[in-house]
Symmetry: C2
Subunit: 379 residues, 2 copies
């Protein structure tokens, strides 16, 4: 873990917002950061040059999908995920915990792990904390996530507590296997294992989980099990309960969030890292984000609109194409429409994070945040 | 038509191959040239920067598709097809003649024109030589094609002759309407109208049609109605029957062809211009072209192959990605696979044409052609 550390650059005096630098074996990441999701070793519709042009610093890969296709062992033989997909900047892989619960129809959870059926062919598979560490080592991401149980919403307190306790025991097992594998696999760059705070919407369970994980002295901590259907207030209640407990010297990652307004609020609550399919999935459905909110490209009102998606956006889509052309591409189901909308959304999210970082460093994040919410209308 | 002319640069002494420059209001085209097909105002999966990076000099748009969606009048109001799709290099539009016969299920041909049903919603439409000229003027391509009847294969001699005679009468009507529209629409760059030689596989009909069209003194001539199912020998028989009749000072365009070996043979027969969906459609199915022939990316043999598609190819796909990664993208139905394969194929076709042009200019095309056929195996 020598290569991996978090450097705190600035804290906003009025909110809990932080700006920092995350050092990894594949380079630096300026935080707060949004990680586009590259589920199957590709951020859908973008090539790796596009990602660099959109100023993406780190992407997320999904252990569950890559385990099923093409297989982590194949990726390992091809030199790891960075080399396989030709992406030389940092990568984070999730543990598959979320997917085995949401995609695998019939799953069976036990202390050992989770037995689930592949969403592709129904074949049966077992994920344990140990096997997930083997998968994530095969993939070779800079940051790997511990295997956890992501509880659904709503979740009874009794179940949430038992699950959180098991997630803590699984974290210990992940650490042990991760250390063994790290000692064996010295030909590959070191990987940083993050723990995941669970506890559903119960503040005391969140606190307990965070405190126990901190005892394990991991290089970073995630807040999981949120954005799964609970009210927005509950989500931010849990975030504000958790971040003050986490060490100032470690990065904080809110998993699966989210919408621009959620990112802006969560950065104010002291979160450093995010991932979500929001920018990419919305783009493929013809919905793009602007400073004023969402814009639906299939709407008839755009049919003859010569304007770009956003007049002050420097992305390649806004520099070259009109709303009228983009609408035509979506109405005719042309792949180029999905590509150009995805590029804009990914660029927009990166710029949003950079703007927040600049505001934190220059000491006026609270005012920036108020300006953002005055302009941005989510629908 | 002041801006439009063909400049003959070199003729191969052993074959009929020609190298030239086609001057248009949107710039020069070096011939022989292959035009990627951009049916719906997009060369599928590529943005306009990709086309320039792949050294594409001219693209083809389909009048039939653009008439249906978004409509030529909308494109006209948006400043024409170049501006609508942000492509500043030359464009050629076909006349819809091929599509109304192949896509419109129920079509009714008369001297007036063709009544057909939209492949989208079954609505009824009438294309006449005059209405097609209005559509192509609305689109504003540099080169526009006359409305013709593309006869199917096989085709009785009697039908082929009557049809060819009607195509000639339609050409006269196209010229008349084209001249009227050109006089009215002086705010737009001039457009060059090409005639189309028909006559099925009957040499004397082809000769008659060519001779009659030449009398009309058009700026370029196409050979149509081939590659519709006839044997390859018949196709080349018709090409070799026609090209010697066409004026040396005008470009010759073989419509809807084709495969790399067909391009190499047809250039040797004196053809200057080509279009076909072969590179783009094959790419989307996971088939790429190399100097040795086709390569099917879904084949299991590529699963762990770290090689690029072609070791000596300078395209972005070959420069950055392995066959193993491309195969993975196709096996997981990722759009990026289609994009990267399309880029390679379009680049490959452009390089193939450039190589032929260089060989013609340097006077060793026949030897180049023999080398090509020795290496290239189509399957």
């Amino acid at each position: 873990m020598n290569d991996f550390h978090y450097e705190l650059i600035a804290e906003d005096p009025e909110t809990g917002a932080r700006a920092g630098v995350l050092h990894t074996p594949h380079g630096k990441i300026e935080t707060p950061i949004f990680m586009p999701v590259g589920t199957q070793a590709t951020v859908k519709t973008l090539d790796q040059h596009d990602l660099i042009e959109a100023q993406v610093q780190i992407i997320l890969g999904n252990a569950y999908h890559l385990y099923l296709r093409p297989g982590h062992e194949l990726i390992d033989r091809m030199g790891g995920l960075h080399q396989f997909m030709n992406w030389s900047r940092p990568i984070l892989t999730d543990s598959g915990g979320f997917q085995v619960f949401s995609l695998g129809d019939l799953n069976k959870i036990s202390e050992e792990g989770v037995r689930f059926q592949s969403h592709l062919d129904g074949s049966s598979h077992l994920f344990t904390p140990e096997s997930v560490m083997e998968i994530e080592h095969g993939l070779g991401a800079d940051i790997i996530m511990a295997f956890d149980e992501c509880t659904p919403y709503p979740c009874e307190r009794d179940y949430a507590e038992k699950s959180m306790r098991m997630t803590l025991r699984w974290a210990e097992r992940c650490i042990k296997r991760h250390q063994e594998l790290s000692a064996q696999r010295t030909h590959r760059p070191p990987q940083a294992l993050f723990g995941i705070v669970q506890g559903s919407i119960y503040p005391d369970l969140r606190r307990t989980c965070a405190q126990e994980l901190i005892q394990m002295d991991l290089p970073g901590y995630a807040i999981g099990g949120l954005a799964v259907g609970e009210p927005r207030d509950s989500m931010f209640g849990m975030i504000r309960e958790t971040t003050p407990l986490l060490p100032n010297s470690k990065p904080r990652y809110l998993m699966g969030v989210g919408l621009p307004n959620d990112l802006v609020e969560a950065v104010g609550a002291g979160v450093d890292m995010f991932d979500c399919v929001v920018p990419t999935r919305n783009a493929r459905n013809g919905t793009v984000f602007t400073r004023n909110g969402r814009l639906r490209l299939k709407n008839a009102g755009h049919a003859e609109d010569p304007q770009p998606l956003e007049s002050d956006c420097a992305c390649k889509t806004c520099s070259h194409y009109s709303r009228a052309y983009l609408r035509h591409l979506f109405k005719t189901n042309e792949v180029l429409g999905m590509h150009l909308a995805t590029f804009h959304n990914v660029f927009f999210f990166q710029r949003l994070m950079r703007d927040m970082r600049d505001a934190i460093i220059s000491g006026h994040f609270a005012a920036w945040q108020a300006d953002f919410f005055a302009l941005y209308q989510d629908s």
